[in-house]
Subunit: 214 residues, 2 copies
Amino acid sequence: MTASLTTCDRILDAAEQLFAEEGFHATSLRQITQAAEVNLAAVNYHFGSKQALILAVFRRRLDALNKARLERLEQSLSDEQAPDLEEILDAFIVPALALTHGSAENGHPFMRILMRAFADRDDQLHRALSAEYAHVMRRFAGAIATALPGVEEKQLRRQLDFIVGALTHTMSECSAKDARAIADDLVQFAAAGLRSAVSVPSVDGAVRTLEIHS
Amino acid sequence: MTASLTTCDRILDAAEQLFAEEGFHATSLRQITQAAEVNLAAVNYHFGSKQALILAVFRRRLDALNKARLERLEQSLSDEQAPDLEEILDAFIVPALALTHGSAENGHPFMRILMRAFADRDDQLHRALSAEYAHVMRRFAGAIATALPGVEEKQLRRQLDFIVGALTHTMSECSAKDARAIADDLVQFAAAGLRSAVSVPSVDGAVRTLEIHS
DNA sequence: GTCTATACAGTGATAGAC
DNA sequence: GTCTATCACTGTATAGAC
């Protein structure tokens, strides 16, 4: 069955699986071409370089993801004149997480570990560092839980992951110099997100405390 | 002046600068040892491997960062019995962003690009992909701006970066299988964060719409 | 212990024959 | 289009000098 595929597709399939299993850096072109049963030079002939092959592997999946996102957004926009904010965010987030955390039908089995390799999580670096500073995270989780009673522990852990992701992403951006303003924005953003998870409903009826998705 | 440092420190300094400039993968041990004016084998003697050297470079900065975070948290907790949620988040976020986006005194000049290398943003992969799908981001930014009038464009762009960071980070985590629940949490979290930036004050006095930090 | 010179297997890339 | 041969370069290991 795999023998009927083209050389290009055989390379892409083998590369995707090996990248997910061992990371980009640790996977050699010789491993890939051997698994795909093609010649070593075929990679450089069809893709130009190892870097370009990595890009092609991602493009194949991200094209489908962004197509799904836009289709879902357009459908929400066409349903009614004023689309709900949550509907827009749904269109952006749900297809992405379905790809990495969904069932085998929606998502591709290698996508999550491929994303980990994407963020360089394949090597021991992230693991070692996060283990080393786990006590800091625990300390902050405890402080937040005290300041914000009523949030489920599992959900709090998730929210903290959201904040860490937002912070890390922002730290690697080179856009602005104004650390104070960015920090203020993120603090405000994170606080509002955290407070939205408190199960005690506010007097303001507009505050969402329960999921409204199907 | 650099000649007075130990071999270990000379390697760390040279490695940090070169990693920040060219990324981990693109920087060879021979470049590092040449810049540090030490022998090639000194790296493996003092650190064991290139991977361990990368870890040591980060540890030197992250130790200071997490120390600052915890000190700031303890100070907030000792000030009054019930610490403000924003104070806790401040303690976590402000020292981190000061490191990457702060002035030369607080922050280390290479830290931001080092973080970029940390997230593998040094190579063309992230750049190429984000350029390729920029139209998707623009489409969503427009939809959100329509659904949520009153948010400044610059701030909305920042909030979107927060959401992208949280989403990407979550996608690379392998914790749970329940894509739907995670997505619901993130949607709720992001929506609350976005709404908190709307300049029209709510009837609920507790909603923060302006920065309260010094 | 600290450092050096040297050697080794494996890498991505390329030129040219078929 | 495909393949072979070859290139400069990589991280790592080791034997030995100070």
